[in-house]
Amino acid sequence: MLEVRDLRKSFSGFVATSDVSFSVRRKQILAVIGPNGAGKSTLFNLITGHLAPDRGEVLLEGRDITGASPHRICRMGMGRSFQRTNIFSRLTVYENVQASLIAHQGRGLNMWRRSDAQLRDKTEAMLQSLGLADECDTVAGELSHGGQKQVELAIALAGEPRVLLLDEPTAGMSAQETGEVIRLLDRIVEERELTLLFTEHDMDVVFSIAHVVAVLHQGRIVANGAPEEVRRDALVRSIYLGGGMH
């Protein structure tokens, strides 16, 4: 489904991603973990076209997407959320999701049809399924942190992606909110037959839903396998010494 080969990226001499290769099968859930600054977000940005790699390639369903612009990659079936929540904060929740649907259906240049009634059913269905129906007319930037993350997820899902990349989907959430998000993700991945990549610091989250775990350390993948194997890996243990590994 998604394959990354020998990806490398440096920022003025500092190597943030180094010889990263892995692949994810359809409907698989891959967790990318690693300490702060390990290069997780950089890796995501390389995959989604926000950064151009110095070397290596990214293949989506066998197609080479290396160096393509973000909007192209999005149109090819990739969705993402950002580590710093990235939504249309001055638009309403409804408009956030509707805009994503308009873009997905290629109606961005339609100058004739009124926007407000367009795609109402689809928009409302999406809001309903993420539990945002009551917040329909709220200005998105006024929602709680968790609510905004939810909106970002709705924006990403409205594009009907086949591969979804979530950069720390539960960061800053309470234990209860985190639990809800995990259940939600679990359900969505199942319903929509998604391939999911996510980064996460909370190991409970990782081990509760990931099929595969890749550990990044200083830009390299130091372990990659089933959660149980990774958990037992000595190197991983030493990296996380004193960290959140149980």
Binding site: S89, A103, L109, W112, R114, S115
Partner: protein, 324 residues
């Protein structure tokens, strides 16, 4: 229809009727001021497709206004092209030029974008200023003919009006159609995507939108409507002059837009009316117009940071807001 739609239609229709009665109620002078306002309302609204709707602050919008005026004026006077065709071609001229310049401008962001629009506008001004054979250079291009409005003569009372009043009606009709077209664009899917770009460019890219392409399209459209406004102004002014393209003209339109309220569709029109009326009133009393203008601007911007329409809209939530 929803209640808001009904209100909108009623208010617009009332405004139109008031505007249409100006020549009946007032003197030649009122018609003159009203024509000026209608044309600048159209120009400021076209600029606001960029500033308010898309977050693209153009410092060179007058270039497309000026070029539209030259194209329309030259075609009518030197080419004998009928008014309506010349007018439309003036719009095409503005759009084409905006398409070419915009191609480069949208590659930059924020203040760099603004600076490039200004630079291009200065080039246009310099060309118009020096190209004596075509534009009349520094002396301008005088005596643009009044269109032949004999086709209006069969109408009950419009037909019997003075030619200046008749032309005002033509301006009002054409500007209304243009404004409704712009409003339609602002409220369309395209308009929604433009507000997204203004709000969050990075996110807009990753809902699958080619941001630059959309910016270029709206830049071209805005240039086209500016050209249409310019064509009307050249005739109204009985001549086209290089200062139509000069930067103070761009600044003036930008002031109208911000003063009136850039987050509302009708804000720039209000700004145009207020600024032109103030100008007429003050210029006839003091030579310190710029000083008075500065003071008024300061006062208004402190009192109504989101423009006049923003202040009114807060009291009466208007539908024609750009979600801001």
């Amino acid at each position: 229809m929803r209640r808001q739609t009904v209100t909108g239609v009623v208010v617009s229709a009332a405004l139109f009727v008031i505007a249409a009665t100006v020549p009946v109620l007032g003197s030649r002078y009122y018609t003159f001021v009203a024509t000026d306002i209608v044309i600048f309302a159209m120009l400021a609204t076209s600029l606001n497709l960029l500033v308010g709707l898309s977050g693209l602050v153009s410092f060179g919008h007058a270039a497309y206004f000026g070029v539209g005026a030259y194209v329309c004026g030259i075609l009518m006077k030197a080419g004998g092209v009928p008014f309506l065709a010349a007018w439309l071609l003036g719009g095409v001229g503005g759009a084409l030029l905006a398409g070419v310049f915009g191609y480069f401008c949208v590659r930059l962001t924020r203040v760099y974008f603004s600076m490039l629009t200004l630079a291009f506008a200065q080039i246009v001004w310099a060309v118009c200023f020096k190209w004596n054979d075509v534009t009349g250079g520094e002396q301008g291009y005088p005596d643009v003919p009044m269109p032949d409005l004999a086709f209006l003569d069969w109408l009950p009372w419009i037909g019997s009006l003075r030619s200046g009043d008749k032309f005002y009606f033509v301006v009002l009709m054409l500007a209304t159609v243009s404004m409704l077209a712009m409003r339609r664009i602002a409220n369309s899917s395209f308009g929604r995507i433009l507000t997204c770009i203004r709000d969050n460019l990075e996110r807009t890219q990753f809902i699958g939108i080619d941001v630059r392409r959309h910016q270029l399209v709206v830049f071209t459209i805005a240039g086209g409507f500016a050209g249409l406004a310019g064509g009307l102004f050249g005739i109204f002014n009985r001549g086209v002059f290089p200062d139509f393209c000069y930067w103070p003209k761009s600044a003036e339109v930008l002031i109208m837009t911000i003063l009136g309220g850039m987050y509302s569709f009708w804000g720039p029109s209000i700004g145009a009316a207020v600024l032109i009326i103030l100008n007429q009133y003050i210029v006839s009393r003091t030579e310190y117009w710029p000083l008075v203008l500065g003071a008024i601007m300061l006062a208004l911007l402190f009192a109504f940071p989101r423009g006049i329409a923003g202040a009114v809209g807060a009291a009466w939530r208007s539908r024609d807001r750009f979600n801001a």
